[in-house]
């Protein structure tokens, strides 16, 4: 019996090693997160505005147009890395971006936008993170592509970049626009 105790560390290690091997062998990229919300309608929401100059966000505001919804926070480092790209999207007017400011201090978020620029059509404050839970947000930054009927078409976890946008999001936008025209 005493001998069996000495096998404990080995068994524990083997189990751990199997868990390490699984994601590699399955060829899984941990950064790809499935969303249970794809093809579903966006949940109800009614968020107060962040800035005095722009209104907040309700469900109605997110309908009728293909658009991106971006969850961000001033305290989030990766948000900073995607911000330049969001600015370029907003300048080129490819697609409107709606911002949801997740669990942030109002002044910090304002300073952040003042500091880095404001790419958003409208910004709503998700003060307690309730909306993020409804949407199934894993962590900021996270970006959702919404069609004009208010259905979620794509979700990206982590900072957006030009290459991700071109490869993953642009094709869906094009397909959606075709559907509407045709």
């Amino acid at each position: 019996m005493r001998k069996l105790i000495y096998l404990g560390p080995l068994l524990f290690f083997i189990i751990t090693a199997v868990y390490f091997a699984l994601p590699i062998l399955k060829g899984k990229d941990p950064r790809i997160l499935p969303s249970a919300m794809i093809e579903k309608n966006i949940p109800d929401l009614n968020l107060p505005p962040l800035l005095e100059t722009k209104p907040g966000i309700d469900k109605q505001a997110l309908m009728g147009e293909i658009q991106l919804v971006n969850f961000f926070s001033s305290w989030c480092g990766p948000c900073r890395t995607e911000h330049d790209f969001l600015m370029s999207v907003s300048k080129s007017e490819i697609i409107p971006i709606y911002g949801i400011n997740y669990k942030d201090k109002q002044n910090a978020a304002k300073a952040w936008l003042l500091d880095l620029g404001d790419p958003y059509e409208r910004i709503g404050r998700d003060i307690d993170g309730r909306t993020a839970i409804d949407w199934g947000v894993y962590g900021v930054p996270e970006t959702y592509l919404i069609d004009k009927y208010g259905r979620i078409q794509y979700r990206h976890v982590g900072p957006l970049s030009e290459s991700i946008f071109k490869e993953k999001i642009s094709p869906i936008i094009k397909a959606l626009r075709k559907q509407t025209n045709g």
Binding site: R2, K3, Y6, L7, P9, L10, F13, I14, T16, A17, Y19, F20, A21, L22, P23, I24, L25, G27, D29, P30, R31, L33, P34, W75, G77, P78, N107, A108, A111, L114, D115, L116, G117, Y138, G139, G158
Partner: protein, 664 residues
């Protein structure tokens, strides 16, 4: 040409390591001294070969040889020399070369300084150490060769990530690797002991300096990394419980446990199999850190370029070495003789508690770090574990540990007297109480958590100081006698006192910063003023300047207190055109009691600039505490080297004579 020389040296090192793995091991089994003797020159030759490879890669970086892919991808001709050199290990391939260089350095050190080691143990240790070298040299040559050429060569390189172009980060990886890889020494000694089937106090005396050296380097490495994150990232924080930070923190925790359990083996010949297991697990956690960073199974801001093939290879190394060592442990450890017995209330008992608590702490960090991975693999659910989890689980484990740290050193070996120790703790109680009252008086309108933190720090400092004072009979004897006692005290005693005091200072810094940090964000034009924590800060000017490989805006901020000039600080905002990336260089005005931290954001003359100011109370104490721990380690290390392996001097002489006879 020189790059090819480096490549060739790496292949040569692999072959030498193969010889060093097999021949001495066989020699030790057959008790053949000439075969065992191969280990020493082989370890030296292996180190030289890897040093040549490292030198060749450094040469390619310093001369900006962009026909080498690795240099073209990670360097730039305009980069300052320091960052050309640190660029060598600022990427995956180069950092692996540094890894094996340090691994070989430790082997070389054992070969050179281990002259008093029993010959079979030495041969086996060097052989196990070389086998780790074989695995990693193979890994480099097969999957991560830094000497590959690029044709045609580009005119200039893609530059190193600007965040890494920083003096703190230039030295953070080498220190961290010295720590990680240093634990390989404890591992090699543990496996060698399992092969020999024998662990005795002399073994522990051998393992301790290597473990201590690794622990010192790891402490310094983690501190540098945290300091870098603090001043470079511009977020004002110093620890984020990021998976990769945790990956370096887990071996630190278990290494700390190992350091203490080895004392019990050395002094009392007890806890032997536990110490062996800790040595294996500490290195396993170091290897796991390497695996997690480079395989991409966890997401982190730190992750290197993700490559599943590399991940699988490192996992194979992990399984082979740790799995193999644990199989040997399961086979051999049960037959190890139990050592000296002791009462639960004793120095040993205290150290067992220390080990238990540190193991639980390691386990909480382990679970928090890997839980997302386990959950994803079993249920496909995605979660992230953040600071709230660690604050809720890790901190409660630390509280009894700190309480114990004041009591443990006062207990005698074998059988301690708890009530006598308790009666010596009056000073700890007094200091703890005094500090809490003071802190409560300063911040009476705020929550009580920081008061508890400071009470703990005071308790620890009081207990540690009292223990030291008792050792030299301070105030109980004449001062001159106390001083002469202090001179005769072993350096390891000073080391322990300093390290424990360092932790107490660290706790003050960590508690104060998390409880009382204040932050101000303003949009300021030139001549605008704001105030923070009783200071006034005025943005005087913002100038546009040129750095060696970047443009910059430098602000001049005057800090005053009640209208009187205190200092000028110069926060910068840099833009690196090659990588198209901005960085912030925060300016920090530090006093002994706090930092004023100023970081410059985007802006212009007309619109004004965003200015972030933090007042971080006692944050210098965090680094100071860590430095004092490192200093304590160094002092303790300088002691042990002097008496290393003393009991084997005579035995060794005999062996040497035997060797001579055989040669003749």
């Amino acid at each position: 040409m020189i790059a090819e020389l480096g490549h060739y040296a790496l292949v040569l090192a692999l072959l030498i390591a193969l010889v060093q793995t097999t021949v001495p091991l066989y020699g030790a089994a057959k008790n053949d001294f000439s075969l065992m003797g191969v280990a020493q020159p082989a370890a030296t030759a292996q180190f030289i070969a890897i040093a040549i490879a490292f030198g060749a890669l450094t040469h390619a970086y310093v001369t900006s040889d962009f026909s080498v892919i690795n240099v073209a991808e990670n360097s730039h001709s305009l980069k300052p020399l320091l960052y050309k050199i640190s660029g060598v290990w600022g990427n995956h391939e180069g950092s692996m070369i540094l890894w094996v260089l340090i691994l070989a350095l430790f082997g070389f050190a054992v070969a050179q300084f281990g002259i008093h080691l029993p010959p079979t143990l030495k041969a086996r240790v060097l052989s196990v150490q070389a086998s780790i070298g074989v695995a990693f040299l193979g890994f480099i040559l097969l999957t991560s060769n830094p000497f590959l050429r690029l044709d045609p060569a580009p005119i200039d390189g893609r530059d190193l990530n600007p965040l890494l172009q920083d003096p703190g980060l230039a030295f953070h990886p080498p220190m961290l690797y010295l720590g990680y890889v240093g634990f390989s020494m404890a591992f090699s000694f543990a496996v060698a002991a399992l092969i020999e089937g024998r662990v005795d106090p002399a073994w522990a005396r051998w393992v301790r300096p290597w473990t201590l050296a690794a622990w010192i380097a790891l402490t310094a490495g983690i501190t540098l990394g945290s300091w870098w994150a603090y001043y470079e990232l511009g977020w004002g924080g110093w620890w984020y419980w990021d998976p990769v930070e945790n990956a370096s923190f887990m071996p630190w925790l278990s290494g700390t446990a190992l350091l203490h359990s080895a004392v019990v083996v050395e002094k009392r010949d007890a806890l032997k199999s536990w110490t062996i297991l800790l040595a294996i697990l500490t290195f396993a956690l170091s290897l796991m850190g390497t695996f997690l960073v480079r395989s991409g199974v966890l997401t982190s801001v730190h992750a290197f370029a993700v490559d599943p093939e590399r991940g699988l290879y490192i996992l194979a190394i992990l399984v082979l070495f740790v799995g193999g060592a644990l199989i040997m442990f399961a086979l051999r450890a049960p037959s190890m003789k139990l050592g000296g017995l002791f009462q639960p209330i004793s120095r040993e008992g205290g150290l067992v508690m220390n080990n238990l608590l540190l193991s639980v702490a390691t386990a909480t960090v382990f679970i928090g770090t890997l839980y997302p991975l386990f959950l994803d693999a079993t249920t496909g659910q995605k979660v992230s574990v953040g600071p709230p989890f660690f604050n809720a689980t890790f901190v409660p484990v630390m509280i009894p540990l700190v309480l114990l740290m004041a009591i443990g050193p006062m207990l005698a070996w074998k059988r301690g007297d708890l009530s006598a120790a308790m009666s010596r703790l009056w000073f700890a109680v007094a200091l703890s109480f005094g500090i809490s009252i003071f802190v409560f008086w300063l911040h009476s309108d705020e929550p009580l958590t920081p008061v508890i933190g400071f009470a703990l720090a005071g308790w620890l400092a009081g207990g540690t100081l009292k223990e030291f004072a008792d050792r030299i009979a301070l105030f109980r004897d004449q001062l001159s006698k106390s001083l002469s006692k202090a001179r005769r005290l072993p350096r390891s005693a000073y080391g322990m006192t300093l390290a424990h005091l360092g932790l107490s200072i660290f706790i003050c810094g960590a508690v104060a910063d998390s409880a009382w940090r204040t932050e101000v964000v303003i949009n300021a034009k030139e001549r605008n003023t704001t105030s923070i924590a009783g200071f006034e800060a005025e943005l005087e000017t913002v100038d546009r300047l040129e750095g060696p490989n970047y443009h910059l805006e430098r602000a001049t901020v005057v800090i005053r207190k009640n209208g009187e000039y205190v200092t000028r600080v110069f926060p910068e905002r840099r833009f690196y055109p090659v990588q198209q990336m901005p960085t912030t260089e925060a300016a920090i005005y530090t006093t002994f009691l706090a930092d004023i931290y100023v970081s410059l954001g985007e802006g212009s003359k007309d619109q004004g600039w965003t200015l972030r100011l933090w007042y971080n109370p006692l944050i210098p104490w965090i680094w100071a505490g860590c430095l004092i721990m490192v200093l304590g380690g160094l002092i303790s290390l300088s002691d042990r080297r002097l008496r290393i392996g003393a009991p084997f001097k005579r035995a060794h002489k005999k062996v040497k004579e035997n060797g001579l006879l055989e040669n003749a």
